[in-house]
C-alpha cells in the first residue's frame, strides 16, 4: 500500500514539472529571447553601412551610452513630455473605462438575468472586427463633415474638429478600443461574488449604497485591479490608435516614439532603449500588482 502511494507520488512529482515545460518554453522563446535581442540592440556599440546598430550578443561588448542618453532625455529632455503625456492619456482613459465599464460589468453580472448571454456577446462583438478596421471606421465617422458632427448639428452643437490632433480624441479612442478588455475580467470577478453575502448585508440593515461600498466593491477589488492592469499594459505601448485618429506630434505617445525609431530609419538602438525603459516602468507596476495579489491570496487563507 505504502509502496504504491510512493510510486504514485513520484509519478506526480515528475508530472507537474513536465506540465510546466510548454509554459517554460513559451516564456523563454517568446519573452526572454526577444528581450535579450532588444538589449543586444539597445547596448550595441557599432553600426553598419546603413547606420544601424549591430546587435552585441556578448554582454561583455555592451555599451550603455545610448541607453543613458535615452534615460536622460526621458527624465529631463525632449521625451519627458512624451512620458507624461502617455501616463496622462492612459490614466484618463482608465478612468473612463471604470466609469463606463463598471456599471456595464455590474449590470451584466448581477441584473441582466436571462439577457446576460446576449449582453456578453454584445460586449465581445467588437472583437469580431479587427481593431485597426474599427479605428479606421471611426476616422470616417469623425471627419469634419462626418456623421458624428452631423448628429451633433441636430442638437445645435457646433462641429468639432475631432481629427486635427486632439488629446481628447486619442483618449476617447483608447478608452473605446480597450473597454472590452476591461469589462470581461471585471465581470468575471463580480460574477463570482456569492449573492448570499449581499443578502446578508441587506438583512443586517445595509442600504444598497452601503452594501455596494462595503461588500461588492471590496470583494471585486482584485478583479478591478486585474482589469486595470490588463487594460493599462497594452494601452501604454499603443501607437496605432494615435497614428490613426491624430497623427500629430502634439499627441505623440511613447509607443509612437518607439515606432519612429524602430520602423523609420537606422537609429534602432534608440528605439530599443525606449522599449527597455518602458518595460522597466511597466514591470514596476506589474510588481506592485503581484504583491497585491499575493497579499489578497494570503488574506483569503
Amino acid at each position: 500500500m505504502a509502496e504504491r502511494e510512493d510510486r504514485h507520488d513520484r509519478a506526480t512529482r515528475r508530472l507537474w514539472p513536465a506540465l510546466a515545460l510548454p509554459g517554460t518554453f513559451w516564456l523563454i522563446a517568446l519573452f526572454l529571447v526577444p528581450i535579450y535581442a532588444v538589449m543586444a540592440v539597445a547596448f550595441s556599440g557599432s553600426i553598419n553601412i546603413f547606420g544601424e546598430p549591430q546587435p552585441a550578443w556578448n554582454p561583455l561588448d555592451w555599451k550603455y551610452g545610448t541607453f543613458i542618453d535615452v534615460v536622460q532625455d526621458s527624465v529631463t529632455g525632449p521625451y519627458q513630455e512624451v512620458w507624461i503625456r502617455t501616463g496622462t492619456y492612459c490614466l484618463v482613459a482608465l478612468v473612463i473605462c471604470v466609469l463606463v465599464g463598471f456599471p456595464v460589468a455590474y449590470y451584466t453580472a448581477r441584473l441582466a438575468g436571462k439577457r446576460r448571454g446576449l449582453i456578453l456577446a454584445l460586449i465581445l462583438a467588437p472583437w469580431w472586427i479587427n481593431y485597426i478596421t474599427r479605428m479606421l471606421a471611426w476616422v470616417n465617422l469623425l471627419q469634419d463633415d462626418g456623421y458624428v458632427n452631423k448628429t451633433l448639428g441636430v442638437f445645435g452643437i457646433a462641429p468639432v474638429a475631432w481629427l486635427s490632433g486632439n488629446s481628447y480624441t486619442v483618449v476617447l479612442a483608447l478608452a473605446y478600443g480597450y473597454l472590452p478588455f476591461f469589462i470581461i475580467p471585471l465581470f468575471a470577478s463580480l460574477d463570482r461574488i456569492d449573492p448570499r453575502l449581499l443578502e446578508a448585508s441587506r438583512d443586517l440593515g445595509s442600504g444598497p449604497t452601503h452594501t455596494f461600498l462595503r461588500v461588492t466593491l471590496p470583494l471585486s477589488k482584485m478583479g478591478l485591479i486585474t482589469a486595470l492592469v490588463i487594460t493599462a499594459l497594452p494601452m501604454a505601448g499603443d501607437y496605432y490608435t494615435n497614428t490613426i485618429v491624430s497623427g500629430s506630434p502634439n499627441t505623440n505617445m511613447i509607443g509612437n516614439q518607439i515606432e519612429l525609431f524602430l520602423l523609420q530609419g537606422p537609429l534602432k538602438h534608440y528605439g530599443a532603449s525606449l522599449v527597455l525603459l518602458l518595460s522597466l516602468v511597466l514591470l514596476f507596476f506589474m510588481a506592485y500588482y503581484l504583491i497585491l495579489t499575493q497579499r489578497a491570496g494570503r488574506d483569503a487563507q
Binding site: I49, Q54, T66, D73, V82, P249, Q264, P266
Partner: protein
Amino acid sequence: MSFDPTDPAWRPRPRPRPGLSRRNFLRSGLWLGAGIGAAPILSACNNAYPTVQSAGYPLARPSNPVTLPIRDSNPPIDAGLDPETGGDFKILNYDAYMAPGIMKDFGARHGVQVQVTPYSNYDEMLAKIRTPGESFDLVFPGPSVLSKMVYAELLQPLNHSYVPNLKNLWPEYQNPWYDRGARYTVPYTIYGTGVMYRADRVTSIPDNGYDLMWDEEYSGKIYLLDDLSEAIGMSLLRNHISKDINTGDPAFVQQATNSIIDLIGRVNVKTDVSAYSEVPEGTATIHQAWSGDPIAGQYYLPKGETPDVLGYWRPKDPADRVIGSDNIAIPKSAGKPVLSHMMINDLLDNDIALRNFGWNGYQPPLNKLSARYLIDQGYIPENLMSAVVLPEDFDLGLTFYEVTPDVEALWRQFWAEFKAGG
C-alpha cells in the same frame, strides 16, 4: 546580404568608429563643422564637404561626381538575353508613383503579373529590399541613398544594350554626378519642393512662401512633408539659418528643428506625404509639397471644382530652390532582370513617359517633354506653372545628398525631438 564593416574590402581606409551617443554626435558634428572650414552658411556652395570618407565610401556631390564600383561578384546581365515570362514582376515603389495602365500594359505584353509593393519613404524601402529571401525586379532610389545601396550590393549594374532610350534623357542625366556613366541607375523623375495651398482660401502669398506654414490663420490645416530632410531643410531655408541643406552643424539643425517644433503649438502642424489628395479635398489648406503633388492634385479635386483652387509656391531664385530626383534601378535580387531592363527602357520612351507624367504629375527629364511641351499638351494649367522643374534649377538648386552616418544620425535625433512634440 550581409555587410561587415570590419571587412577591409569595404573600407578603403580605416575610419574612427563612430560613437553612438548623442553627445558624441554633437561633438563630432561640431568637429565636422569646424574641420570642414568656415561655417557652411558662408559657403552656400555644393562642396561644403569634399570627399568625406567617414561613410566608408565616397559621398557623391556635383563637385565630386562618383563612379560606382562594379564588382566581379555582382556583374550586369549578359546582352541579348530573352525576356522572362510568366509569374510576377515585382516593383518596389512609392505609392501612386507609376501609372497603373502602364504596368497593366507591360504585364499583358510580356505575360507577367505586375505587382507593386509600396513604401512611403526610403527607410521603409531599405527595410523591404533588405528582407532576406525577398526579391524585387525594380526599385526607385534617389541619390541620397544610392551609394550605400550599391556598396551593400543591393543593386545590380545595368546593361545599357537593353536601354537604347537612354539617349532621350537630358544630357546631364545620361552621366549624372551621383552615378557616372549611369552604371546602376537611370533617372525616373525630377521634382522641386515647395508649398501647395488652396488658392481660394489663402488670400495673400507672402514673398517668402514658406511663411504660409507659420500662418496662424490656417491653424489645424497646415501640413509638413513627413520627411525629415524636407521638413528640417525647409526650416533651415525659411529661417535663413543656412543655405546648406545637408549641414552637419548641430547648432543649425537644432535651430531649424526648434522652429518646426514651434509649429506644433502655433498651428497644430501635422505631417504626411499626401498633399496631392489632401489639398484638393480640403483636408489641408497649406501643405509642404513636392512639385508633382499640385499637378497630380488636379485629378483629386471634388466634383465641380476647377484646378484654379490649387496654388503652388516655390522660391523665385533658382539658387534657393530645393530640387531632387528619383532613379530607377534593378535590385540584385531581381528574378526577371531582362524584363526589368525592358521596363526601364519603356519608362524612358517619350510616349510612355508622357502617359506616366499625366498620371503621377512628376516630370521625367526627357528632352522632348520640355516644360513648354507639357503646358501645350494641357498637362499643366497656367496657375501651376511654378510646379514645372527647369534644367537651370538643376544647375543652381539645392539638393539633399547622401551624408555621413554621424550627420544622418544628428538629423534623425532632432527629427525625433520634433516627433516627440517638442
